[in-house]
């Protein structure tokens, strides 16, 4: 049985060579790599099929590696934790929480990926390499990324009000007042979901304080009462400071969840003009509203005080639990544009890989978002995902809750900073 498979695979390889591919020599060498790999990720359904396409692309280069993928769904951290505790981890896993990866790395459960370091830096840039690096060793490769530095808007409302998508925070402030004067509240804020508020804060903070302070704050090396935090909270008031500029008012916004915050941009009449959230808003618009292409647009999160292009993102990071030639080959493959393009062409995927050809993305908006992501001078992982979950990731607590209180009472900047510091001090001990 094995022989037949090998034979068939070898034939496939020969066909590739015949088509005049330059990687003929490499493909021949790749024949030597064999074995099987188990991969664990959160993707299911359509995403699972798309990831299959990535595996197929891998198998084109490494025909003798048998990759089996299993979806753990949203329970991945728990499933993985259990598997690792039980001494039976998968070969490869995709984890969305850098904190979890750091935990595994510290416990010595992960294999070093330093063999792929150059490939990561070359394809993604240092910013992305840093995300998977702990104590100087590369442990993770950001494969599927999310771009959370976006504003989504209703094009009709913008053109009725005669405003253009803003490029700077001053533009944003003016545009918001103009839109309000046209009778539509400019901002839709999902106050019931605290993470949308932390995303907003992080986008502003990365722009006002810069990446170094961002990293320090993420590690709680500087306090939340730092002047840079106060400054960012003050800037945040541009968006949440005026209750009249928020759909439903500050009080109503606290009960609007994320899907509703997107839907209400496209009700008739629209309840708001724009919202700030990640690339996944596109999915909500497509599935939950009647908006057609052209009814909605997307703009890059505006620059604050002349800040350069920066992206707050998230994503699924590939890590290796068991070292093997096949495992190394697979992890190296993840850094290549081919791996990203295999999924990107199917939609629902962004890569921070700068060498991915933008034309593979299925539509203009995705292309714009992906280009923003790849072109960003600075890429930083969502800070609240880096924080201990008690502070940065729990509904009704920590940063989520405190920023919700800030939305309710945006004049209390000092009190908000103090509350954040108190909560952080407890969570980071």
């Amino acid at each position: 049985m094995t022989v037949t498979v090998l034979g068939a695979a070898a034939c496939g390889g020969d066909d590739d060579d015949a088509s005049g591919d330059t990687s003929g020599g490499a493909a021949a060498a790749n024949q030597d790599v064999s074995g099987s790999l188990s991969v664990l990720g959160i993707w299911s359904g359509q995403e699972q099929e798309s990831f299959r396409a990535v595996i197929d692309a891998f198998n084109e280069q490494y025909p003798n590696v048998n990759v089996s993928y299993k979806s753990a769904g949203d329970n991945l951290p728990t499933v993985l934790q259990t598997a690792v505790q039980g001494g039976n981890p998968p070969d490869v896993a995709f984890i969305a929480q850098p904190g979890t990866i750091q935990g595994f790395a510290t416990d010595g459960k992960l294999q070093s990926l330093d063999f792929a370091k150059d490939a990561v830096v070359e394809n993604f840039g240092q910013s992305v390499a840093d995300i998977g690096t702990f104590d100087g060793t590369l442990y993770g490769i950001l494969f599927k990324s999310a771009n959370k530095s976006l504003g989504w808007y209703n094009t009709a409302v913008f053109s009725d009000a005669g405003v253009e998508p803003p490029e700077t925070f001053e533009d944003l402030s003016t545009a918001a007042d103009t839109i309000a004067a046209s009778g539509v509240p400019p901002y839709s804020i999902a106050g019931a979901d605290g993470w949308t508020l932390t995303d907003l804060f992080e986008n502003i903070y990365l722009r006002t304080a810069g990446p170094e302070k961002y990293d320090q704050l993420a590690k709680h090396e500087i306090k939340w009462t730092d002047p840079s935090v106060i400054d960012a909270l003050n800037q945040m008031k541009v968006v949440i400071g005026k209750s009249a500029n928020i759909a439903g008012g500050s009080r109503g916004a606290l009960q609007i969840d994320f899907p509703t915050s997107v839907k209400q941009l496209f009700t008739d009449p629209p309840k708001a003009a724009m919202t700030f959230e990640g690339d996944f808003v596109g999915g909500n618009i497509a599935n939950e509203t009647n908006a057609q292409e052209g009814d909605y647009g997307v703009f890059t999160f505006p620059s604050v005080n002349g800040s350069g292009p920066a992206v707050v993102g998230a994503g699924d990071i590939g890590v290796l639990f068991k070292d093997s030639p096949a495992g190394q080959a697979f992890m190296t493959f993840l850094t290549t544009p081919e791996a990203a393009q295999a999924w990107a062409s199917r939609g629902g995927f962004l890569s921070a890989n700068k060498n991915v050809d933008p034309s593979v993305y299925p539509d203009d908006i995705t292309r714009q978002i992906a280009t923003d992501l790849a072109d960003a001078e600075t890429f930083r992982f969502d800070m609240s995902d880096l924080a201990p979950p008690a502070f940065g990731g729990t509904p009704g607590q920590g940063e989520w809750k405190i920023l919700q209180d800030f939305l309710r009472n945006p004049n209390d900047v000092q009190g908000t900073a103090q509350a954040l510091e108190t909560a952080a001090a407890r969570a980071y001990k």
Binding site: A161, A181, T394
Partner: protein, 447 residues
């Protein structure tokens, strides 16, 4: 199936007769008992005893489970505001819900006994029990939404509220320039005007769709020597325009009632024309005040914040009572059906009125049933979890949390503090134990 094997140990049919019983014979019933009990003991051991004991042990260790921290986790419960709040909320639940559910159940049961469509009514009241608590919670959360367009409860209140306080044609409009100010709902010129002058009442924050269809380009008022003229218009065109200046592309607002107060204190009013202009004529000289009354800007009902921090506990309780009242009613109705009718008849014959019969006969006779319902609800309420999770939005979960929810949030929702979570679980256990003891003693008495 496990009990199948020990059957082989049972004594064989032809028993040796006589008094000479061996030690094995004496042990045999014990072995049989053990064999029959084994499955239950194993199940209880694995799923009840072991987890309970382990939880108690775990509660004395830290987050990671490595370091012994003594009573620190328990102290934390009473020092952490959010956790303390959940204990308080649980006390509110305990104080209100069991009594309320029992009372409602009793009322429904007694009433349904007397009405023609009793069975149908019982069916309707009992129906919520068939719905999962979580689904019921989601339904209530949607019904209690603050936005009357989504929340049925606010929509109903809104119908009444809007009928009493009719919303104006230009809700949410704001003055555009500095000459016009908003005070107490009305929008008026800041300074008095004299006859011969014109007044510009520019308004913004009006949707294009709110402007009446017959509206035309805003007119520029022409001054009258013995009158005050002016215009009310939507002071907005794409890009914003100049505030306070009537520009091309800005529409007048027809049908707006403009009010004029004379120096003597009388008031006159006039409606604006299609281009938004208006005129008050034949005015003696003097200082006049001009504005648009608050009824034009009267906001519609914007919803009671049922799920806001102050009302959310009550909202959860309403949803919970809605679910459980049917259960209480059915159990109490069953008890009611078993009451000896002759006692009630005797009381009535002796001249007791219905209230006295209810108070002195029905309720005392029903006491055991009422106690069962009350205690069942007490235990249920101490453990209440899913309805709070479903009803309370994340932004107010701190305000709505109960002990079981706090335990789950602390231990499982990413915080991963199993030490503190275990301590909360033990606290919950300790709170439930007295009720359980009460229940067991009552069982004994009944048996």
């Amino acid at each position: 199936m496990a009990t199948g094997a020990p059957a082989a140990d049972l004594p064989p049919a032809p028993r040796p007769e006589g008094p000479a019983r061996t030690r094995g014979d004496r042990l045999r019933p014990l072995a049989t008992a053990l064999a029959f009990l084994a499955p239950a003991i194993v199940l209880l051991g694995v799923w009840i005893v072991y987890p309970t004991v382990w939880t108690i042990i775990r509660s004395f260790f830290d987050r990671a489970g490595d370091a012994f921290v003594g009573w620190d986790n328990y102290k934390e419960i009473f020092e952490n505001d959010a956790l303390l709040k959940s204990v308080e909320n649980n006390l509110i639940w305990v104080a209100i819900v069991p009594a309320l559910v029992t009372a409602l159940g009793l009322i429904f049961a007694v009433l349904t006994e007397r009405i023609a469509w009793g069975t149908g009514f019982k069916l309707v009241v009992f129906m919520p029990i068939a719905i999962s608590l979580f689904a019921a919670g989601i339904s209530w959360r949607i019904m209690l939404d603050i936005d009357p367009e989504r929340g049925a409860v606010n929509a109903a209140i809104g119908q009444v509220a809007d009928a009493i306080n009719e919303p104006g044609p230009l809700t949410g409009a704001k003055p555009s320039g500095a000459e016009v100010v908003q005070s107490g709902g009305a929008i008026a010129l800041k300074d008095p005007v004299q006859p011969g002058q014109t007044a510009l009442l520019g308004l913004t924050a009006i949707r294009a769709t709110e402007v009446p269809d017959d509206a035309r380009q805003a007119g520029r008022p022409r001054a009258l020597p013995d009158g005050i003229t002016g215009v009310v218009w939507r002071d907005f065109k794409p890009g914003g325009g100049k505030p306070g200046v009537v520009e091309r592309g800005e529409t007048g607002l027809p049908g707006v009632t403009v009010e004029l107060r004379t120096p003597e204190g009388d008031s006159r009013s006039v409606k604006t024309a299609d281009d938004g202009t208006f005129a008050f004529e034949d005015l003696p000289p003097g200082d006049y005040r001009l504005g648009i009354g608050s009824s034009t800007f009267q906001q519609g009902f914007d919803g009671v914040s049922w799920l806001g921090s102050s009302l959310v506990v009550i909202s959860c309780i309403i949803a919970y009572v809605w679910v459980w009242a049917g259960f209480a009613m059915v159990v109490i109705a069953a008890g009611l059906a078993a009451l000896p009718r002759d006692l009630l008849e005797a009381a009535r014959t002796d001249g007791a009125n219905e209230w006295q019969v209810f108070r002195r006969i029905t309720v005392p006779l029903l006491a055991p049933v009422l106690t069962v319902v009350f205690i069942t609800m007490l235990i249920n309420v101490l453990k209440v979890f899913d309805i709070v999770l479903a009803v309370a939005p994340a932004s107010v979960q701190d305000d709505a949390a109960v002990i079981a929810l706090s335990m789950w949030r602390v231990a499982f929702t990413g915080q991963g503090d199993f030490g503190l979570g275990s301590a909360i679980a033990v606290l919950l256990f300790v709170l439930v134990v007295p009720v359980l003891v009460l229940n067991i003693r009552r069982f004994r008495r009944e048996v």
